[in-house]
């Protein structure tokens, strides 16, 4: 069952009403934005539940059990509860900065989905600079975390914000370079082109020995750091900074950070699946199912990290990036260029 048919039908119905083309495009874009928000909200709610269930499995517990079947609507209950929570703005906080931080955090996470291909044809707009756009927009998250840290006027929050800035600054470059080594092969920045260049399973970039796996590992490490997840969850290190940048946030504002964290995790997994695992490509099943399967597989890996590893210290985190990951990524980029030039594995 390909979903694209439904959307095409709806679009044609819209055209058939005879309103001007500008309105048609506008309505369809707004509608797709709302649909994607709905999908993302569902995915985030599911991911929170799944994370809790997975952690319970790792830890020989049950996880949420009493709210819905096996706690399936637990996160819905959490969300409704968070709507009812009082919203506190500390007296000393910088009110506008404090207010806008969660909004920017969420919007940055949400705007990425303009050009994420959920399936064959299931992409809002295939930007010709797709991957560059995604890399640029995801970095906005750090601005919101810095704003949250600064605006809260709380020392722990400030430290958390600073840490997240340092962390993103350090891991951005290896991530870009790892992505570049794939771009060298694709020859285009468009997400659709990236997926289409790996139609068959041996064409997936993770299987292009030897540069593919290295780039994939660098990408996964950098992505973990960018999404602030263990072992790189320093900005909200519970045991050191109590709750880090979101220490003063309550109610819906906290919910936005929470939602954005899980959307970001899904985003980086989706990018990873697109770049290295062939995106929607796969036999028999509809393309969007393949995409979701691969993405959730990567999400599982991130969750696995989280429930296994302790946390790094801030200086070790920086040194790991600058002294190990970055030289490795560049060496890998040169290797990829040479492989592309010499035609190795260039099937």
């Amino acid at each position: 069952m390909e979903l694209i048919g439904i959307f095409k039908y709806l679009y044609e119905q819209l055209v058939a009403t005879g309103i001007p083309q500008v309105w048609v495009d506008l309505i369809s874009l707004v509608a797709s934005a709302v649909i994607i928000f709905g999908v993302l909200a569902l995915i985030a709610l599911f991911l929170v539940w799944w994370e809790r269930k997975l952690s319970a499995d790792f830890q020989q517990r049950m996880g949420p059990m009493l709210t819905g079947w096996h706690g399936l609507i637990q996160t819905v209950a959490d969300a409704i509860k968070l709507i009812q929570k009082e919203d506190i703005t500390p007296t000393k906080a910088d009110r506008p900065v404090f207010f806008w931080a969660p909004i920017i955090c969420f919007v940055a996470a949400f705007a990425v989905y303009v050009t994420v291909p959920f399936g064959e044809g299931l992409i809002v707009s295939d930007l010709n600079i797709g991957i560059l756009y995604i890399v640029a927009i995801t970095t906005f998250t750090v601005i919101s975390l810095l704003m949250a840290g600064w605006g809260s006027n709380n020392k722990y929050a400030l430290l958390g914000g600073m840490r997240s800035a340092a962390q993103v600054v350090s891991y951005e470059v290896p991530m870009i370079v790892a992505i570049l080594s794939v771009i060298v092969f694709v020859g285009s920045l468009s997400m659709v082109d990236i997926v289409e260049s790996q139609a068959l399973i041996y064409q997936w970039y993770i299987f292009r020995m030897p540069f593919g796996p290295i780039a994939f590992v660098i990408f996964i490490i950098a992505a973990t750091a960018e999404t602030n997840r263990t072992p790189f969850d320093l900005p909200e290190a519970e045991q050191e900074l109590v709750a880090g940048f979101n220490i003063e946030y309550s109610g819906m504002k906290f919910a936005m950070f929470f939602l954005a964290e899980f959307i970001n995790m899904f985003t980086v997994s989706a990018i990873g699946a697109t770049l290295f695992l062939g995106g929607w490509q796969g036999p028999f099943l509809p393309s969007w199912v393949w995409f979701l399967v691969k993405t959730f597989g990567l999400v599982f890996v991130f969750m696995w990290f989280r429930w296994t590893y302790p946390r790094l210290r801030v200086d070790q985190l920086m040194e790991f990036s600058w002294k190990f990951l970055l030289p490795l990524a560049f060496a890998n980029l040169i290797l990829a260029g040479w492989m592309k030039y010499s035609g190795w594995f260039n099937w």
Partner: protein, 168 residues
């Protein structure tokens, strides 16, 4: 703003408006009750039992209860362990800084009424109920995890009985 308090007043003017009120009430109170995030707050022996309750054999997560380190994001403060006179103002401040709606469980004899430190102690606050409003008392020194569960379930019952017109 609390406009929600007015919902019953207006809704009941329409036929079938009561259904809206009751279902809203049901959804809100039910979701509050099944998502009580507790603050990581433990001072003494009961804190170990609180930790054990969160661990594998008992597992708080089954009720949807997870811990938060910041009082801004937690709904429930489980005062586990002795509250001394030096600690009492801090407990009050923590309770103040929690976002409403907020609940308090007094866990263990010390927080209920001084417990084994009622007599002859110059430093222990004899019960926390004159510092913060307490919803559920759990006696025991320390209470078993099962009794803590019982207390939490009692609190859930209490939360479920809330009416939206009574909200602050």
């Amino acid at each position: 703003m609390g406009i929600i308090k007015k919902v019953p007043v207006y809704a009941e003017k329409f036929p079938g408006g009561g259904i809206i009120t009751t279902s809203l009430n049901y959804i809100f109170s039910q979701s509050q009750a099944s998502s009580l995030w507790y603050l990581l707050f433990g001072t003494a022996c009961c804190a170990i039992e609180l930790m054990a309750t969160g661990a594998s054999r008992y597992d708080f997560d089954r009720f949807g209860m997870i811990f938060r380190a910041s009082p801004r994001q937690s709904d429930l403060i489980i005062a586990a362990g002795t509250i001394t006179k030096k600690m009492a103002p801090r407990l009050k401040l923590l309770h103040d800084q929690m976002a409403e709606p907020r609940y308090v469980i007094a866990m263990g004899g010390c927080t209920v009424g001084g417990g084994p430190f009622y007599y002859d102690s110059y430093a222990v606050e004899k019960g926390i109920d004159h510092i913060v409003p307490v919803d559920v008392y759990i006696p025991g020194c320390p209470p078993r995890p099962e009794s803590l569960f019982e207390g939490c379930l009692k609190l859930q019952e209490k939360v479920k009985l809330q009416k939206i017109q009574d909200w602050s």
